[in-house]
């Protein structure tokens, strides 16, 4: 049975998500967001949604993060919240 | 009563509408004015061509579009509408002649715009006259309001702007704010808005609701300038005199009066009003206006302002007459539309002529002017007689019938009001004429050389004056139409 892992990851997802919003550095936020997406991807694999997980791994954890990083490099890392 | 389906009403309305693009595009003044005349004549001819049928008691109907179930955009030519249409369309010819003289005389700017919107206003007026239901009437009423705005504010100075605002505030404010909801409530109560002799409320018995609706509709048509919704009229006198003449002696204000007539006779119906004793309410409102307006008129020195207040009073005659709900009274009220129109437009023309010739606007400056402009002042005299209601002018008949109406409805207070106000009318008109002619040379303000306004100005006022006199001898046309209008 994989449900416990499932629950654990779910909780972890929430934590990472909050972290991505709390961290005072946009670059860090971007990286944490990547982690968040990857957690999600794991979660969906567990639930049997392999295609979605695959897409999320490539799009969410991959390209989105790169976009974030690129945008942050082009603007500024500074954030007040 | 037979009904003829014919496109004539639509033509009568749209002939001046169709000519507007030509007017707008024509750069040469002569072309423009020629077209204006053609349109005016065509309009009169079309209207006149329908007179015999109407006198035979027929009705000419034409439906443009069935926009809302039970309320189409529809024309119906009946006696009352014909009466009004005849007056307004025939006076358009005279006025356009006069405007040419006036506008050229004063070298007014942007005359093209002036003539275009004048034509529009005329279409709207005839449209109101021929409309078969409240929706159509509202349509043309609004059209008139917006078409006259550029005319009222023609001078485009600060005064024009402020009075233009006042004009819109009163006219459009009331029509959208009061008439529209009233109309919709009527529609939702009865499911129709068609005018008919017995009214649309046949059967319904909500006295309170009907009273409220009646007041909303009578006061809502603020163009009739019943107090307290009157003060736009004097303000609107900043307009060029021909505008004041046609619009504020004939078209606009008479449209208001006409709409109220329609509401009283067509929407509510004489029987209903008699049963619910609502006529008296209107009578008292109207008579109040009559007296107060005449009193204010006494105190005015500006000639046009005095005329304006006299107009306010005279309009309430019309309402009063119909609200008496007695046949004779109603005939009086309806004929007064015509009679007062001819009388009052003469007076305005005279005022304009004086302005053009001497530039004088205030009565106190007009002592002895009769020696300078005898023709004009004689016309003025006739016009004032007609407005006061003395023979030998058409005004006499309408007053006469009004008085008979009060007796028929045995409303003594109203009789007193009528007679009193007639005295007041005399009191604020005759002194002008007297001072104009009979004054000692030293107090005269003009040298005795006769110098009239240009012919374009004088001819029309002579014509209208003559018509007012003629109407004393041949009033039958209007009287018959009025008799037909009250169905007997």
């Amino acid at each position: 049975m994989v449900w416990p892992i499932d629950l654990a990851i779910l909780t972890l997802v929430v934590i990472v998500g909050i972290g991505a919003l709390m961290v005072k550095d946009l670059l860090g936020a971007a990286i944490l967001f990547g982690a968040y997406s990857f957690m999600m991807c794991l979660l969906w694999t567990i639930m049997g949604a392999v295609d979605v997980a695959f897409t999320e791994a490539s799009v969410g954890a991959g390209v989105s993060t790169v976009f974030f990083v690129g945008a942050v490099f082009r603007t500024s890392r500074r954030t007040k919240d | 009563m037979e009904t003829i389906v014919s496109i004539k009403p639509l033509l009568a309305v749209s002939v001046s509408l169709l000519v507007t693009p030509i007017l707008a595009s024509s750069r040469a003044p002569n072309v423009r004015e020629a077209w204006t005349f053609m349109a005016a004549v065509a309009k009169v001819l079309i209207v006149a061509s329908m007179v015999p049928a109407v006198l035979k008691g027929a009705e000419i109907v034409y439906t443009v579009a069935e926009v809302v179930p039970g309320a189409a955009i529809k024309f119906r030519v009946d006696a009352l509408g014909m009466l009004f249409a005849l007056v307004s369309s025939s006076l358009w010819i005279v006025t356009s002649a006069y405007s040419i003289g006036y506008m050229r005389g004063l070298k007014e700017h942007s005359q093209t715009r002036y003539f275009v919107f004048f034509a529009l206003a005329l279409s709207a007026t005839v449209g109101v006259a021929f409309s078969a239901n409240l929706l159509t009437l509202y349509l043309f009423y609004e059209m008139l309001s917006f078409a006259t705005y550029p005319l009222v504010t023609h001078h485009q100075d600060h005064e024009a702007r402020s009075s233009g605002r006042k004009y819109l505030l009163y006219i459009v404010g009331t029509s959208i704010g009061i008439v529209l909801p009233a109309m919709l409530i009527c529609y939702n109560m009865t499911g129709t808005l068609e005018f008919s002799m017995q009214g649309i409320f046949a059967g319904t018995e909500h006295k309170a609701t009907i009273t409220v609706l009646l007041l909303m509709l009578v006061l809502g048509f603020a163009k009739v300038a019943i107090m307290p919704l009157h003060s736009w009229l004097p303000a609107a006198m900043v307009a060029p005199t021909p505008v004041s003449a046609l619009l504020h002696a004939v078209a606009v204000v008479k449209v208001g009066a006409f709409s109220v007539l329609r509401v009283l006779t067509g929407v509510f119906g004489v029987n209903l009003l008699t049963n619910l004793h609502l006529g008296t309410v209107i009578c008292y409102i109207a008579s109040f206006t009559v007296i107060v307006a005449s009193l204010i008129a006494l105190s005015q020195d500006g000639l046009k302002r005095r005329l304006a207040f006299s107009t306010i009073g005279q309009l309430s005659y019309i309402v009063l007459g119909v609200a008496l709900l007695s046949p004779k009274g109603m005939i009086g009220g309806m004929t007064h539309i015509a009679m007062h129109a001819f009388g009052k437009i003469t007076l305005f023309f005279c005022a304009g002529a004086i302005a053009v010739a001497t530039g004088k606007k205030y009565i106190s400056e007009m002592v002895g002017i009769g020696k300078r402009m005898p023709v004009t002042m004689v016309a003025f005299f006739i016009g004032s007689l007609s407005v006061i209601g003395l023979p030998p002018t058409g005004g006499f008949f309408s007053k006469w019938y009004l008085v008979l109406g009060t007796l028929q409805a045995d409303q003594m207070p109203m009789l007193i009001v009528l007679l009193g106000s007639s005295l007041l009318n005399a009191a604020y008109f005759l002194p002008i004429v007297y001072k104009a002619f009979f004054c000692t040379p030293e107090e005269s303000m003009f040298e005795n050389t006769i110098q009239e306004a240009p012919i374009w100005c004088v001819a029309p006022l002579v014509v209208t004056a003559v018509i007012s006199v003629v109407l004393f001898f041949y009033p039958t046309l209007f009287l018959n139409l009025a008799k037909l209008a009250i169905g007997g």
Binding site: - | A65, K107, H109, L139, Y149, Q156, I176, L180, P181
Partner: protein, 497 residues
């Protein structure tokens, strides 16, 4: 071919958008003709479709040949037949009218601009024509994304307002998606008709109620219904005139259509109005919306921004009319979708011409416009009359139905709000007219027509569509009776009385 109209309506614009984006790299001058061609095919087939619907009733088009609910299907009935025609015609006219202003404002971006423009029209048409709840979401996003791009073209504060619009729009779309998810988890279906078939057993379920509320909130966000309107004015004001005259008439109206579709088709009127007893508060909300829109509009000194606030008030009209819960009110709402789209297009095109000539819609730029651009102002006046609600322009008649509905439903507050906003519109527009009408004051005597200020009008390609729209306003007004009897009557289910 007429059997394929539903397909063509969406596919042809899509293909033409792709072709445009390719052509943009080869030769800019090809973009405009292709766009016009694609849009006119769409307009032609949607009008043809409307007539077919009038003859045959509901038309079902199975994409991929799969029977619904397995595959995605188009359901074209009288309601979206009407909206389709309006949307495609408006888009076409605006495309023709805005040619010059596009070339003036951003000459080197014509290719991508037209791509987005046509894509947006594709999205809107798809939203209207589709019968699949999720498909609607995807198209919603297309319309939204392209819209952000088009608005942000405006430069200045354009990007910022577009970004705010993006946040709000995304929340709205996601709420809609969430609501659909709730419906899906309860019914297991995504096809609107199918959901409607399954739902009646579940009307008591909390999840269905929540689904309805969430969808509504999402749609309201997208249509800028009063408390959620904050994004609209800036977005529409700072957009380039070519975009704003496409977005302002269509987006909010299409969202209104979606709302009505939700009320009437997915959830039956019986659920929306009887089981869920929220009509009264929503109507009151729309009353507030109308008042706020009118009052905020009064405080504006920029013509374009003033109009955006009027749009907010108009949204209030339609939401309120739809939620009056009676047939007349719904008729008014549906009628007003078409009328408002047309009259908004009219005024925005006029504003576009003004901006094209005098570079700005601030009130002080407008002095003496009646002399300078008489034709544009003439059309603008007609549009304004329609917005005020003066017969025989179409604006009056939809208002007529709305007010009648309010009276029948006993919602006099709504009636008062409508009249109030009409009066405020009079004030607003005549304030503009005054400014355009009174030149810098001069003594009026002594100079006749000798030396009038030179007429400096917008090019004819911008004027002709404007005139067409103005004429349509009056014609639609005169044919209101037929439109109601032959189209709107059938668009509303018999259940609603």
């Amino acid at each position: 071919m007429s059997l394929q109209y539903p397909g063509l309506i969406v596919v042809v614009p899509l293909l033409s958008a792709l072709v445009i984006s390719i052509a943009g790299w080869v030769n800019k001058r090809w973009c405009f003709p292709i766009a016009v061609a694609g849009l006119s095919v769409a307009a032609y087939s949607s009008v043809g479709l409307l007539f077919r619907v009038l003859d045959e009733g509901v038309i079902v088009y199975k994409l991929g040949g799969w029977d619904p609910p397995m595959g995605i299907a188009y359901y074209v009935d009288h309601l979206n037949g009407l909206v389709l025609a309006v949307v495609s015609v408006v888009a076409l006219l605006n495309a023709i009218a805005s040619k010059n202003s596009i070339e003036q404002e951003f000459p080197e971006r014509i290719g991508p601009f037209y791509t987005l423009y046509v894509l947006m029209v594709t999205g809107l048409l798809g939203i209207v024509v589709t019968g699949d709840a999720f498909n609607l979401y995807v198209l919603l996003e297309i319309a939204a994304l392209t819209g952000y791009g088009l608005i942000a073209m405006g430069g200045g504060r354009g990007p910022l307002s577009a970004l705010n619009y993006l946040y709000m729009g995304t929340i709205g779309a996601c709420f809609y998606l969430l609501g659909i998810g709730y419906l899906y988890i309860m019914t297991g279906s995504l096809n609107m008709v199918d959901i409607a078939r399954i739902l009646p057993d579940l009307y008591q379920s909390k999840a269905v109620m929540a689904a309805f509320i969430i969808c509504m909130v999402g749609v309201w966000l997208k249509m800028a219904f009063f408390p959620l309107h904050a994004w609209l004015p800036n977005a529409y004001t700072f957009a380039p005139s070519a975009s704003s005259s496409l977005i302002a008439p269509l987006v909010t109206k299409v969202m209104i259509y979606v709302m009505i579709r939700l009320i009437l088709t997915i959830f039956t009127p019986e659920f929306s109005f009887n089981i869920l007893a929220v009509s009264k508060p929503i109507v009151w909300l729309s009353v507030i919306a109308i008042f706020m829109g009118a009052i905020l509009a009064l405080s504006e000194r920029n013509l374009k921004k003033m109009l955006t606030f009027i749009i907010i008030a108009e949204v209030g009209y339609m939401v309120g009319g739809a939620w009056l819960g009676n047939r007349v009110g719904m008729t008014g709402a549906i009628l007003h979708i078409a009328n408002d789209a047309l009259m908004t297009l009219c005024v925005f095109l006029a504003v576009g011409n003004i901006v094209y000539k005098v570079k700005g819609a601030e009130f002080e730029n407008l002095q003496g416009l009646f002399r300078k651009m008489p034709f544009t102002m003439g059309a603008f006046v007609i549009g304004a009359m329609s917005m005020i609600g003066v017969p025989p322009t179409c604006g009056f008649f939809s208002k007529w139905y709305l007010i009648s509905g309010a009276i029948q439903a006993g919602q006099y507050g709504f009636m008062v709000a409508l009249l109030f906003s009409s009066l405020v519109n009079v004030v607003l527009f005549f304030r503009v007219f005054e400014i355009c009408y009174y030149e810098p004051f001069s003594d009026h005597h002594g100079h006749g027509d000798h030396h009038p200020e030179p007429i400096d009008e917008a090019p004819v390609t911008m004027l002709v569509p404007l005139f067409i729209v103005a004429a349509i306003l009056v014609l639609v007004g005169l044919y209101t009776g037929d439109i109601v009897n032959h189209i709107v009557e059938f668009a509303i289910p018999k259940g609603l009385v």
